[in-house]
Amino acid sequence: MDIPYLTSLVIFAPTVGALLVLLMRSVDAIRWTALGTTAVTFLLSIGLYVGFDPSGSLANGPQLADLSAAWFPDAIDIKYFVGIDGLNLLLVMLTTLIGPIVVLSSWTYIESKHKGYYSLLLLLQTGITGVFCAFDLFLFYIFFELTLIPMYFIIGIWGGKERIYAAVKFVIYTLVGSLLMLVAIIYLGYQAGNAVNAGVFTADWYTLLEYNIPLGTQTWLFFLFALSFAIKVPLFPLHTWLPDAHVQAPTGGSVILAGVLLKMGTYGLVRFCLPLFPNVAQEYAMLFAVLAVIGIIYGALVARVQPDAKSLVAYSSVSHLGFVVLGIFAFTPEAMQGAIIQMVNHGLSTGALFLLVGMLYERRHTRLMDDYGGIAKSVPVLTFFMVFSVLASAGLPGLNGFVGEFLILLGAFKSTVVGSPVLIALATTGVILAAVYLLWMVYKTFFGALTNEANRDMADMNGREFALMAPLAALMLIIGFAPNPFLQKSEAATDFLLETMETKRMAVQKAADEAAPVAERLEITPDAAVDNAK
């Protein structure tokens, strides 16, 4: 079955749902509309998954693309251009899957202003899906900023005690980054327009790819883009907005934040920073790899000493996303595909952890691990899912986290760019540390004698909670044992990306060498040439 405009439908169905929600009166109608919308969106996205041909070459454009004419023909080449390729397919699927799960998780958690909450949630989903699907840089930027506003309100209105501080910090921090990116986008658009698009400003990803940006320009453009994405990831030391935002956000917000929103950063690095600025990306890859590894270890150590379970999971994200960034900057197919699947894996397992911590919070209105202890006896099913998600998150082989981490580290080790054995060894210690802080959480919260009387009558997971956890757990297991169908989706795109980068890198380098002043070239004296030959 061929559904026309399927990609756009998947992006905008939640917006339609948001409008419908605004028309509803009763709380039930609001919730069910939101659930229905996200469920339908997920079903539609299955069409994307089925319709996507993993062997199709990315060189000819994305699949299932929807393309408008330029909005300002002949003056500025900005247009509506969305599509699916191996880099975004899994992330789109993750977003549409997380959608209904977040609605379900908010079912009783959100106790006021339902209409606003669910409509913002749906709007947020449109923004995120749009970010992943956009093939026009300007459109990407619009969606990128669109995600900011709903998230701001979700944290600021339905959050915890310090919600205003956290929300403002989240917005300003990410806005600083993205405004700098906007400057870079505008400059890049004009330069590329002059170079390859007959003088017309362009934001088309493919047109931009044709433009080999000169070295000097590449450097600062790269850093403006990279800064914006690094804040979003977040990469050490730009991460401090994250624990604040997570701890204050309602469960649904945290799940979206950790599950998909952060991936806009890593995805942006893959989609734009690497192919557009390949020379600089490679030159500074080690810097990013080192920051990523610091993040892995640092995030893990700080996570271990958090008294608040949610804060612990938040810092674990800093650690886990370090692996993804390391994979991205390794420039090997193993690590790159590992990074892509690890984005999904992190969304599943960290999303699950936030959901479970949220369930505890809903029952006892505390996130401090000291307030629990020994609750495995009263909530065996919840304990099962928690241990399961913890193991997935800690990278146990047979569950999803291992696949990503293994491929990333394997690929990074053999990388000629970042493959220093010492660095990879340090990164690999993250595997030990993940076990340390995650098992600590389980130990503190679930095991031991049930000392706090308030925990004795805690209800175990109900049907709704089971329904939202079961698909996540199932996917963790499926990706753990049979990741290959998922990996195949990104194979062609990864190859295309790495090849394009290498071609462009060589071209730019060649141009730079040729343009070097004659005097500089003459500096190579015959003696030096002989030395070189040796």
């Binding site: 491929l407 054995p421 030990i432």
Partner: protein
């Protein structure tokens, strides 16, 4: 029957058992009490694979069979399949795992009777068998690693099985984390090998790998894998988790922490033996670490009162013997000792379980029927036992047989395998590897200590006079048949299993069946070094005599001393040995040292260093910038006059600036 189908059944049946036993009762609490159903299913899914493996073993044609299920992951150069390998080595290991595993499942039906977590226990145990089978049947390193970490997970779940006691969960965490340190090295080894070879399949590693890899790569890879092995197989410096692991139910100690999982490191080295042989320096490291671990653990075992702790340190010590064997190139002997050890150590552990079980009844009876205050009573403490042989004849007899077997009393299983290890060390030294002499010497001393501490544990437990309160009124009972039958099965094999490895003095090694089965010279998968110099026959007989004398001497010494003096003999030892004995009793303070040098600095550093750093420095900088911006905007705000003309002027200026930049920029 088709090999592929058989392998599928062998692997998947335990998994099915784990899923059914685990998930059905989890979601349907009414099923949790169905012990009969759960126990039968749990045991059957291990017993049937045992029968199938036996069939495979009987019909095995001599050529390895690789069964390829499907591709696990493929990316770049990596193409990784769920592929399993049936050959002599994996068959032997599968027989041990499913055979000993089946017997212990049966035993657990009795041992775990009445426990709330009966269903969980069998689910974990089944899952363990599944993971262990992945480990021993894998045809590439990552699938082996899947099993490797899988058994670690089950070990974690089972050590912390009685989770309401937080110390059990702490022991579980410790086991998992220490194992993860080893796994870290295992991962690094895989990354290294993959970056050099582009494959992690055993076929590539053991054929092209041996010739294509540089000496330093092989050294690093073998060293890293060995570090991995020191985690799983409890060697210095990562053995510290195993004694604590005794917090788990006793069948777990027998199956996982004695017979199977902890021998994985040896299996790994035997599987990669062609590679290991090319790292002679690391082999010396392996042998020396094994020797030091063996003697260290044996000395600790002498000074313990907890019967399971004695057995735990004994296991560490025996694993040390196996590493000595691997380190002198005698990989098949290491596997031989894995096999015999599986029988006698499982027998000892299950025996101790039977003892603990009945001591718990004594405790219960004293507390509830006689009103004794039993809060200080420890049913695992040998100081409260004594003369149990009178009440528990089967347990006592089988424990004694296994004690003789591990001590190396002639013609019992441990005699053959341990003597073979010592002989191989001697022979390797004889062939110009001086470190092997050291290993041999340490092995001889440890053999004496082994005989001593094992006999001590037997005498203190089963002989002498009873030491629990009111022994005239309350006395223990023999365990039910589901528990004693497995003991007799294991005791039987502790007697006869050694005959598959008769020493070279008999018919020139013709009857060393396990050598002929596993050894590369006979077409098996386990490589061995070529040795030019042969130990003279007379000297070899002499070594056997020495080994026998040491075993008998050690047993006799402990038997006489503890029969005569009972527990008080420990005080004599302490008086005679002084602070050395304190070191033994204090387990050489490894835990304390790790706590002080690693755990605390990391924790306190994170708590008092990194976290405040994150809050005040990293985040402080962010907020500082924000405050700066706020201050600056206070100044800039004055520009916002609200007068439209001013804005228009600013806009015009801006446009001019932009145009100027575009023209001249």
């Amino acid at each position: 029957m088709d090999v592929s189908l058989l392998v599928r059944l062998i692997l998947l049946l335990p998994l099915v058992g784990a899923l059914v036993n685990g998930l059905a009762p989890l979601f349907l609490p009414s099923l949790r009490q169905s012990e009969g159903l759960i126990g039968t299913l749990g045991t059957a899914v291990v017993a049937i694979p045992f029968a199938l493996t036996l069939y495979l073993f009987m019909t095995y044609g001599g050529d390895p069979v690789v069964v390829d299920f499907y591709t696990w992951m493929a990316a770049g150069d990596l193409s990784l399949d769920f592929a399993y390998r049936v050959d002599e080595l994996s068959l032997i290991m599968t027989l041990i795992v499913t055979g000993v595993g089946g017997v212990i499942h049966l035993y657990s039906v009795g041992y775990m009777h009445g426990d709330d977590g009966f269903w969980r226990f069998f689910a974990y145990l089944n899952l363990f068998i599944f993971a262990m089978l992945n480990l021993v049947l894998a045809n590439n390193l990552p699938v082996l690693f899947l099993g490797w970490e899988g058994v670690g997970l089950c070990s974690y779940l089972l050590i912390g099985f009685w989770y309401t006691d937080l110390s059990n969960s702490a022991a579980a965490n410790k086991a998992f984390i220490v194992n993860r340190i080893g796994d870290f090295a295992f991962l690094m080894a895989m990354f290294l090998l993959f970056s050099e070879l582009g494959s992690l399949d055993f076929d590539v590693l053991l054929n092209e790998g041996v010739s294509a890899l540089s000496a330093s790569t092989i050294n690093w890879a073998v060293l890293l894998l060995f570090i991995g092995a020191t985690g799983k197989s409890a060697q210095i410096p990562l053995f510290v988790w195993l004694p604590d692991a005794m917090a788990g139910p006793t069948p777990v100690s027998a199956l996982i922490h004695a017979a199977t999982m902890v021998t994985s490191g040896l299996y790994l080295l035997a599987r990669l033996s062609p590679l290991v042989l090319n790292a002679p320096v690391i082999m010396a490291v392996i042998a020396i670490v094994g020797a030091l671990t063996a003697i260290m653990a044996a000395t600790i075992a002498i000074a313990q009162y907890d019967i399971k702790k004695v057995l735990a340190y004994s296991t560490v010590s025996q694993l040390g013997y196996m590493f000595m064997a691997a380190g002198v190139g005698a990989f098949f002997v290491a596997i031989f000792h894995v096999l015999t050890h599986a029988f006698f150590k499982a027998c000892l552990f299950l025996g101790s379980g039977s003892v603990i079980h009945s001591m718990e009844h004594v405790e219960h009876e004293l507390e509830h029927e006689h009103g004794e205050d039993m809060s200080d009573f420890d049913p695992q403490d040998m100081r409260t036992m004594g003369n149990l042989g009178r009440f528990m004849p089967s347990t006592s007899a089988t424990y004694l047989i296994a004690t003789f077997a591990i001590s190396g009393i002639p013609l019992l299983a441990g005699f053959f395998s341990k003597d073979e290890i010592l002989f191989k060390a001697f022979e390797y030294g004889f062939n110009g590897h001086p470190y092997a002499w050291f290993v041999w010497g340490v092995g001889i001393i440890t053999a004496l200590l082994t005989a001593f501490y094992m006999t001590r544990s037997y005498v203190l437990t089963f002989r002498g006079s009873p030491r629990w309160p009111k022994p005239d009124v309350v006395h223990p009972h023999e365990s039910p048949t589901t528990m004693t039958a497995p003991l007799w099965i294991l005791a039987f094999f502790s007697v006869v299993a050694g005959f598959i490895g008769l020493p070279a003095v008999i018919a020139d090694g013709k009857w060393n069946l396990i050598h002929h089965y596993l050894g590369a010279p006979y077409g098996g998968p386990v490589a061995e070094p070529e040795l030019a110099a042969h130990v003279p026959l007379a000297l070899e007989w002499g070594l056997i005599a020495l080994g026998s004398l040491i075993a008998i001497g050690g047993v006799a010494w402990a038997w006489r001393s503890y029969s005569a003096h009972g527990v008080a003999y420990d005080d004599r030892l302490q008086a005679r040995l002084g602070s050395l004995y304190d070191w033994w009793q204090g387990k050489y303070y490894w835990d304390e040292a790790y706590d002080r040098t690693v755990v605390r600095p990391l924790l306190e550093g994170s708590r008092q260093g990194l976290w405040p750093f994150d809050d005040y420095v990293v985040d402080g900088a962010v907020n500082g910038v924000a405050r700066l911006a706020q201050g600056a905007s206070g100044v800039l705000r004055r520009l916002q006059t609200g007068v439209v003309q001013n804005y228009a002027l600013a806009i015009v200026l801006g446009v001019v600036l932009v145009i100027g930049l575009m023209l001249f920029g």
